[in-house]
């Protein structure tokens, strides 16, 4: 079996359950491919030996009732994993080994999953190209020197390059959907409160959500079903009725009302993206769905609002990295000097930029003008969606305003980098679920994605719509193994 790594997650699970494949064989296959793919720099930490050991243990006494029976999986390095180094892509946590497991990864382990490694990401998930990672750039397997998106860039790269059959990321402003879009993969940002944040290194607490990244919508449904649990260790976790998302998955979208927000037709958007959107609209109509023009009037304010709220929370969330208790510490003359040196040397430029922005907008005298106003606008953005959902079941937009760009291309232009998140950020501000699915290529041959936005806790509907789109689009990722010699 030479192409174990070509299998989708659901296929892999099926083969293992049918005993056509052992966990050990699967685990070794993905590890071997990962070893040959060092050039992508998708991994920060490898857990290969330990994973093979676990796979062997699984095979000795396999439990096929599990949803991920002995399935190897690499995860974003923002999830704390017991006894496996967790860095959040930062020097300040370079040698940090948690004694605890995040709820989401625990859910995966409980279903039989085996962690084969920790995947690269932007430092503290702050970035859209994986270029802010202390552990270096990640290559997009689509083409050499192309960014894989961010912040879950190691995850999207590893998935698209088939180093892992599925993966998990976190999405604060688009960090799952944008890299999924850039690599021709599927990424779901669940409703805020759906997946527990316990044990995930925090970036912006009111926006952060973990979610699956997979080859297709079926895999995505399975992963989401496993990840999403009510957790009393996270006060913002919501106890809603969770479905059997994979079982319930169907492509029947007859009668579904899909909104098209006019504010997402931004100036200067490449023609291919417009065409892609039209293609999506056409498929929905052809499958019995109804297209309704809607307005989300405060869309323009989403990005500035996001760049106040997220840094404000981050500036406080990152205060704990002070060199006192764990992580990197630089020697200082006194306490203040130690803080300054530790944080100057331990954090990268983008993280420092956001800490400074966040500290500024929360300062007395500026709080009302920035943070408080941003909270009010955030409410208005949420209201826009509430209004829209009186008329529609879901909303269709492009995932990003452009395809993947070259490494280094936007590194010195933060604003242009931030604009990448223009279609994804409003959804985090509103706390809604959204999925990005690959839908086509631009003229350079780089993948482009469509985003389906749903009502709160109605992940099933957007999975179903995405499933229908996926079927009709028949996207094919033209990835050659250029990085393997």
């Amino acid at each position: 079996m030479s192409n174990i790594t070509d299998l989708k997650l659901v296929e892999l699970v099926d083969k293992i359950k049918k005993k056509e494949l052992s966990s050990t064989e699967a685990t070794i296959a993905f590890i071997e491919r990962s070893k040959k793919s060092k050039k992508l720099n998708a991994y920060i930490s490898e857990n290969y030996e330990n994973a093979i050991k676990k796979a062997k243990i699984f095979d000795q006494k396999p439990d096929f009732k599990k949803k991920l029976p002995g399935i190897p999986i690499a995860v974003k390095d923002l999830f704390c994993t017991k006894n496996i180094r967790t860095t959040a892509g930062s020097k300040i946590l370079e040698n940090f080994i948690p004694t605890y497991e995040s709820t989401v990864t625990q859910n995966i382990l409980d279903e039989g999953g085996i962690v084969i490694g920790k995947l690269n990401c932007d430092e503290f998930a702050m970035g859209s190209s994986n270029e802010t990672s202390y552990f270096g750039n990640v290559q997009n397997p689509v083409s050499e020197n192309l960014v894989p998106g961010g912040s879950s860039g190691g995850s999207s790269s590893a998935l698209a390059a088939k180093l892992t059959p599925a993966t998990i990321g976190t999405d604060t402003g688009g960090s799952i959907r944008q890299p999924a879009s850039f690599t021709g993969t599927v990424g779901l940002k669940p409703t805020y409160g759906s997946c527990s944040r316990y044990g995930i290194v925090a970036f912006a607490s009111s926006l952060d959500q973990a979610g699956p990244m997979t080859h297709d919508v079926r895999d995505c449904s399975l992963m989401f079903e496993i990840m999403s649990t009510y957790d009393t260790k996270d006060s913002t976790s919501v106890d809603f009725k969770r479905e059997n998302y994979l079982n319930n998955l169907n492509e029947n979208i007859k009668g579904k009302k899909i909104g098209i927000p006019k504010e997402y037709r931004v100036d200067g958007m490449p023609k291919e993206i417009d065409e892609l959107w039209e293609k999506g609209i056409k498929i929905i109509k052809e499958n019995g769905g109804q297209i309704i023009e809607i307005s989300l009037p405060n869309t323009n304010y989403a990005l500035p609002t996001y760049y106040i709220v997220a840094p404000a929370e981050a500036s406080s969330n990152l205060a704990r990295y002070d060199g006192v208790k764990y992580g990197f510490r630089s020697k200082g003359e006194n306490l203040i000097d130690m803080y300054e040196k530790t944080r100057s040397e331990g954090f990268g430029d983008e993280v420092k930029r956001r800490i400074m922005i966040g500290t500024y907008v929360l300062s007395s005298g500026y709080y009302d003008a920035y943070y408080l106003k941003a909270q009010k606008v955030r409410r208005l953005i949420k209201n826009d969606f509430d209004e829209a959902y009186k008329k529609v079941d879901a909303i269709l937009t492009p995932s990003t305003p452009n395809s993947a760009f070259k490494i280094g291309e936007k590194l010195n232009d933060p604003v242009s980098m931030y604009l990448n998140d223009i279609f994804t950020v409003p959804i985090n501000l509103a706390g809604l679920p959204a999925i990005s699915i690959p839908a086509g290529h631009d003229k350079k041959g780089y993948p482009l994605g469509l985003q389906v936005i749903g009502k709160a806790f109605d992940e099933q509907s957007i999975l179903n719509i995405a499933f229908a789109l996926e079927k009709n689009i028949s996207f094919k990722n033209n990835i050659t193994d250029w990085w393997i010699k």
């Binding site: 948690p98 607490s205 704990r320």
Partner: protein
Amino acid sequence: MSKNNGEYLIIRNDNKYEVIIGLEVHAQVLSESKLFSTSSTKFGSEPNTQVSLVDAAFPGMLPVINEHCIKQAVKTGIGLKAKINKRSIFDRKNYFYADLPQGYQISQYKDPIVGEGSVTLDMPNGEINIGIERLHLEQDAGKSIHDIDPQNTLVDLNRSGVALMEIVSKPDLRSLDEVNAYIKKLRSIMRYLGTCDGNMQEGSLRADVNVSVRKKGDKKLGTRCEIKNVNSIKFMQMAIDFEANRQVDVIEEGGSINQETRLFDTKKNETRSMRSKEDAHDYRYFPDPDLLPLELNDNYIDQIKKDIPELPDEKKKRFIEKFKLSPYEANILVSDIEISKYFEEVSKNSDVKLATNWITGELFALLNEKNIEITESPISSKNLSKLINLIKDGTISGKIAKSVFEIMRDGDKDPTIIVEEKGLKQQSDPKELENLINKVITENPKNVEAYKSGKDKLFGFFVGQVMKNSNGKANPKLVNEILKKKLN
């Protein structure tokens, strides 16, 4: 300083200054576990043995509110006759310090759990009401220890995350006596409610003190200074007295007061500037996104109200009405919940007047001498009650009772048994007493002669002789009666 009419005034060059005091009391919530984690709050454990991943702010750790602490705050609010806010918000107060692992303290800023209330104080000139501004919940910090290692500061996080109630008074206090009464009353209310043990030695009750002065008669408040973290009533009084006099001196010299935070040096008995208003921290308060707003419904609050025990003010009223105690006596007996419990146990089965006198007299003297709390009293309420009944039914005299009490204090022995064993029972048989009296009369013919000729004062001599011959056991009342009959 003058204290005429109970007034606390500072006098300089014929100018009289009034002192305005407000207190921010930090009371540790009585709770097994911390405000946002399940770690124990036990005092005096080995350093860093009561620290969870949440308390030490490990990556990805999240606070989860301890419902018991909410209940305690609501209870205390009710005890302070305060408004319970059905919606309150936890905010982050951001600052860096080695013993603050999160880099922020979770506190309540704009929307505290409890709003305005009041506390009644009994002062010599009558009752006064002190306004409560608010009560909010917050986390305690850890402890930085600078004097163990000469090179390093050590940090103990056992206290990190322990729940505190910050109770902010209005600037209604005017004297050191009122400060004393206020702290004692707060402590008493919280101990009645079981929401704070009020143990100042263990730091369960500390206060920031706000002090300003103004010329008597002025309406406008002066600029205040805040004295941080004072941990005993005595130190609060010393700090206020020093600070008020310092402020008066500055004003008298033509200067003005700078709003600032000061520290009280207990060794030098002075306050020192810590930081001015300009250097004040910018805490960048904002709602903690890890915690949802706290919402309480009427049913929840009503349920807590139902479980509120009788509080000192009500108990005092009841003691005065039911037991006919004086306000002074009632005040003493209700000041501490344990004293009031002890009193009610004793008086349940014995004379109230005697119970009051014996508790506030002999028992308090004993507790003072041993420097112990009433809960550690060597004499149980049951046995004190028995002793009082022995006096009341004439088995022993009050004087004998005192010597029985002396024996009881070493081991809580049943007074009935002591009286039995030592033969201390009062002699009340008229025949036996008559024999004793006859003997005294026969042995002292000269004094009998003198008495009969008008030396009335000698009556006491005869009583004394009878008592002496009976080893103090003769019933003094009967001795008096019989002796009078015999001699007249």
